[in-house]
Symmetry: C2
Subunit: 475 residues, 2 copies
């Protein structure tokens, strides 16, 4: 049977999650491996998800006053050395252009791993007076970080992302921006990706190279591991001083500005896959699914079936639904399996008997449930179902995650917690040695501070706790 032939292609999600992931991204044609190690080709089905992510995020960035721009890919290597922590963090991962136009270059050029240094250089030219502030610019671009171990979407030598870079007159405004964009990410992750996220400040060890403070957004994957889905950084005056980003203030004095940056990447597609996928493959939330509905004709050659399918498609399109009619020669069973694997939120099965009875069967990918609905007013029904699926997927993911957040008082508790596929909340004294020890013993890292929670003592050394931290094994 066709069903088997598809299901066989994907490893068992319970038994081998990493292989399940690899199978799903390849078999659903989200992605393929590029010829250069660690690179990926984002195929049309995967890229359509990225386009939907871009559209949703871009609207939010513009609504919060940001404009897009584009800065060069190649950055003189010397720029990286201007901010000490930054060069230490990024130099080892950089790809370097040494020759161009048939000649060796006088100075090697980095393919951008991130753009603080080149954007900072331009801002120092553009910024004159307090009237020019704030500068609120975002860039959609490709970046490159030469990683040893790579996996499609999660960690690739080249990836697509957006990076917002802003400049402000005061520390307070820059911090407000940092938190505002973290909030935008959280709202987007929950309402568009249907992924509940935990946001909070990161430890010194885990922060961005060159930041005063990094705030992260972590999501739980189905194997209980965490995926950092976005970050927002407060730089204070670090980059302003390194790149001479200064302005003439109202009081006539030249002052260094305060900057921030924030980014999310094609990693979000990996998060979608691992937060919602199941034994049959992808489960996509409607807001970012390439197709929200697939129509599968049953007994397509019977008179009137294809006509009715086309009619339903047209009515859905008019209602603004992204819909595809699968009129290929494959059997209905084959089609059911293919579109389930591809995670299309709703499937409408339409055969001669349905048409006769004035109804259609609608299959929900998220709940695997099937129900008959009247053909009359079907576009409204489908629009309402799309909203339900979007909402229910978030709540299902949230319930699953909340069940898996546990507390621990000591190292043994942390280890048991993460081995059981949980996020573990534990007290931490704030010292690097204890943080390192947890990683060494449990392979878990400090994800973010659990905001608003206070533990009494550090789970490692027993000294007074400075923070309650969420520990997890992470992608």
């Amino acid at each position: 049977m066709a069903k088997e032939s598809f299901v066989e292609q994907i490893a068992d999600i319970e038994k081998d999650f990493p292989q399940w992931y690899t199978d799903v991204v390849r078999k659903t044609q989200l992605v393929d491996y590029g010829p250069v190690k660690g690179t990926m080709v984002i195929r049309p089905y995967g890229y359509a998800i990225w386009e939907n992510i871009q559209r949703e995020l871009d609207a939010r960035f513009k609504a919060t006053g940001h404009k897009n721009a584009y800065f060069p890919l190649l950055i003189p290597m010397s720029y990286f050395t201007k901010e000490a922590e930054h060069v230490e963090g990024f130099a080892p991962e950089v790809a370097v252009v040494t020759h161009a136009g048939g000649e060796e270059l006088a100075e090697p050029l980095a393919v951008r791993p991130t753009s603080e240094t080149i954007i900072g250089t331009m801002y120092s030219k553009w910024l004159q007076s307090y009237r020019d502030l704030p500068i609120l610019i975002n860039q959609w671009a490709n970046v490159m970080r030469w990683e040893k171990t790579t996996r499609p979407f999660l960690r690739t030598s080249e990836f697509l992302w957006q990076e917002g870079h802003t400049v402000h007159a005061s520390a307070e405004e820059a911090m407000d921006e940092t938190m505002r964009m973290l909030g935008v990410y959280k709202e987007f992750a929950e309402n568009c990706l249907a992924i509940p996220v935990i946001t909070g400040r990161k430890t010194e060890k885990e922060k961005f190279a060159g930041a005063v403070a990094t705030f992260g957004m972590d999501a739980m994957m189905k194997d209980g591991k965490s995926l950092q889905a976005g970050t927002s950084h407060y730089f204070g005056q670090n980059f302003a001083k390194a790149f001479e980003i200064k302005f003439l203030d109202r009081d006539g004095a030249q002052k260094y500005a305060y900057t921030s940056s924030w980014g999310v990447s094609t990693r979000l597609i990996g998060a979608l896959i691992m937060a919602h996928g199941d034994e049959r493959g992808l489960v996509l939330p409607p807001k970012v699914a390439p197709e929200q509905v697939v129509i599968v004709p049953v007994a397509a050659k019977k008179g009137g079936v294809m006509e009715k399918c086309a009619e339903v498609r047209a009515s859905l399109e008019r209602a603004g639904v992204r819909v595809i009619l699968d009129d290929s020669d494959n059997s209905p069973g084959w089609k059911f399996n293919e579109w389930e694997m591809k995670g299309v939120p709703l499937r409408i099965d339409l055969g001669p008997r349905d048409i006769e009875e004035g109804k259609a069967m609608i299959f929900r990918r998220d709940t695997l449930s099937k129900e008959a609905y009247a053909l009359e007013g079907l576009a409204d029904t489908v629009s309402a179902l799309i909203e339900s699926v979007q909402k229910d997927m978030l709540e299902t993911a949230r319930a699953r995650r909340d069940e898996r957040i546990v507390y621990a008082d000591d190292m043994d508790g942390i280890l048991k917690g993460v081995e059981g596929g949980n996020f573990v909340k534990a007290g931490w004294c704030g010292c690097r040695a204890c943080e390192d020890k947890i990683k060494e013993k449990t392979a878990a890292t400090a994800r973010v501070y659990a905001e608003g929670e206070t533990s009494e003592v550090c789970a490692v050394c027993g000294k007074k706790a400075e923070h309650t931290v969420i520990f997890a094994r992470a992608y």
Copy 2:
């Protein structure tokens, strides 16, 4: 006066067109120079034009059945050598990554100058059967060509573009695609950019490296020079054979496919500037202008003026107009000059007396004319004016260009023609020597064949003409 201070910033368009161009792109903040020679920073005002171009083109690509994808930036150098003409054409301009992750790479990697080779490699993996055809994929990306002489938008070492890459079962289908997309470009250039273009086949000398035939789209700039604004290439089986792009046909035989590619780039922004700009700066067609309307309050502190301006803005926004209200502290005169320089299609001046009389003055940037309109129903008036400006700009540019297309029978005629800032139509025998001679003597190149026209003899050698060719000096 404020007026002077602005106008002084831009060189005289009649006396020094190149300097006028440089002044306009910098002073209007479309672009800035990047730190690496030949690179540009596309600033928010310039990037907003690119976003509008992207949105319009992307809708057209999707309407003609194409999907977007993303292929890696880095291409193994060996790929280029697989198609002999292609490597010869692009190798000298390539930027090369030789080191990454702190180590020297086993094989140097090219930063893509164009993606036929890497996309062809992936297509050869993906394509199995005639059922998989056609493959219709487009990519929005950055590319890099190390040029000796660079100018913002026109020729930069890095630029943004789209490249469509398609695969077909037959030569006829691939050629149909090549011509279809050339047609899409032409319709877009005329209806969105308001730039009349001449499309046609290019000579062997001017074609894309590796193509069987290249079709170009040329536009006349205000100095009479030509700008190639887009190209569409028919590859026959050249790349299919070089990259093993084969499929199992209906008849059970393995066959090489036929491919095409087509692209336009951020060069189009250069075309916009030089096709429409005038002594005051930019003149932007409404469809791609970042702002279609600017509202300038006159005597803004008088009671009710700012309120009325905000009301007008809200009504225009509701009508889907991109509108900005300039509520800065600058004087109205300063604002008039700034927004004229920035090329905003319509300006609405609104002062206490206008409000009293229930009218507003609307200034048209394209015709420099000013007229009073009733405040009642202003959104409809503005929408209609936007359509008129869009249409009139195309017709004005078309009339200007058509006046400047001349015929020549001999080399002297070609020289006089191009020196007078014209496109020159002349007969050509088809041989490289005559084509080279024209370039040497007149600095003009063969732009495209004048489709449907036939000259009797070659303007150089007097032998029988094979084509009528449009010669022009070109960017």
